[in-house]
């Protein structure tokens, strides 16, 4: 399993790097509005009503941004959690832990593509 992970390393690193850069660029704006502003009623009325959110999320740019917000943090998260597991638990379980984490990121990314294509 580790041999396969080593072979996939360039793709994983590409997604991981994009996850750190693009994911981090997008997260504060998303978290301050959808995740914190709306539930705390800090946004103007109707800013994130279903109709407006659907209009934004179903546009081409909205779909791309939403997919980036789903997939890229998943890959950044999977790779860094794998590194944390290696640093704290040792490398003997790396093949299993790494495979599980990347499987979560891959399945989440596919489900994200399905979701944004069907909005």
């Amino acid at each position: 399993m580790r041999a396969l992970l080593l072979r996939l390393e360039p793709i994983i690193w590409l997604l991981f790097g994009a996850g750190i850069l693009v994911g981090t660029l997008l997260l504060p704006g998303y978290l301050l509005t959808v995740a914190l502003g709306a539930p705390l009623h800090l946004l103007p009325d109707g800013a994130l009503s279903f109709e407006r959110a659907h209009m934004l999320g179903s546009s081409l740019v909205g779909r791309v941004v939403l997919l980036a917000l789903i997939a890229l943090p998943l890959w950044k998260g999977a790779h860094h959690t794998r590194a944390l597991a290696v640093d704290t638990l040792g490398h003997h379980s790396d093949g299993l832990v790494g495979s599980l984490l990347y499987a979560v990121a891959a399945i989440g990314s596919v489900l994200g593509i399905v979701a944004i294509l069907s909005i």
Partner: protein, 147 residues
């Protein structure tokens, strides 16, 4: 007890002339300040992974209609969700500050005939992009534009 380090990660590109013992991770490695910051940087991965899964839930709620969307926003008002998203914001800021400091240092001296901009300029460009994208998202998702 010290334990063996990852031999793959620490392997020299070619064997040295002198035989050396396999690398060992000291037992108290996590108490070193630089290592602690590094482990904290790694640990943000757990939060990012969960943020990605929650964002997936956001997309599915948008897909499933008004009732699902309203239920999602209502669930985000739960203190556990608010605490998690507050933590996620702190993690995103920590990752951004650390990564943007490291990014200019990791650039190659040349990319073909082109040279990357000087490190301070690259650093400033990353912060300008970060602030700009955040303001645009705040305006759009905050209902300022488009009306």
């Amino acid at each position: 007890m010290a334990r063996p380090a990852d031999p793959h990660a620490m392997q020299p590109s070619r064997p040295g002339r002198t035989r050396t013992a396999p690398p060992q991770v000291p037992d108290d490695f996590w108490t070193r300040p630089r290592m602690r910051t590094y482990l904290l940087f790694d640990a943000t991965g757990i939060v990012y992974l969960l943020v990605g899964l929650v964002a997936l839930r956001v997309a599915w709620a948008l897909r499933d209609g008004k009732a699902a969307w309203d239920a999602l926003l209502a669930s985000f008002a739960h203190p556990a969700y608010l605490a998690f998203h507050g933590l996620a914001l702190v993690c995103a800021l920590f990752v951004g500050v650390r990564f943007f400091r490291l990014f200019p240092k990791a650039q190659p001296a040349h990319i073909g005939p082109a040279k990357p901009p000087p490190r301070p300029v690259l650093h400033a460009m990353l912060y300008a992009a970060w602030i700009g994208i955040t303001l645009v998202l705040l305006a759009i998702l905050g209902g300022v534009w488009p009306k």
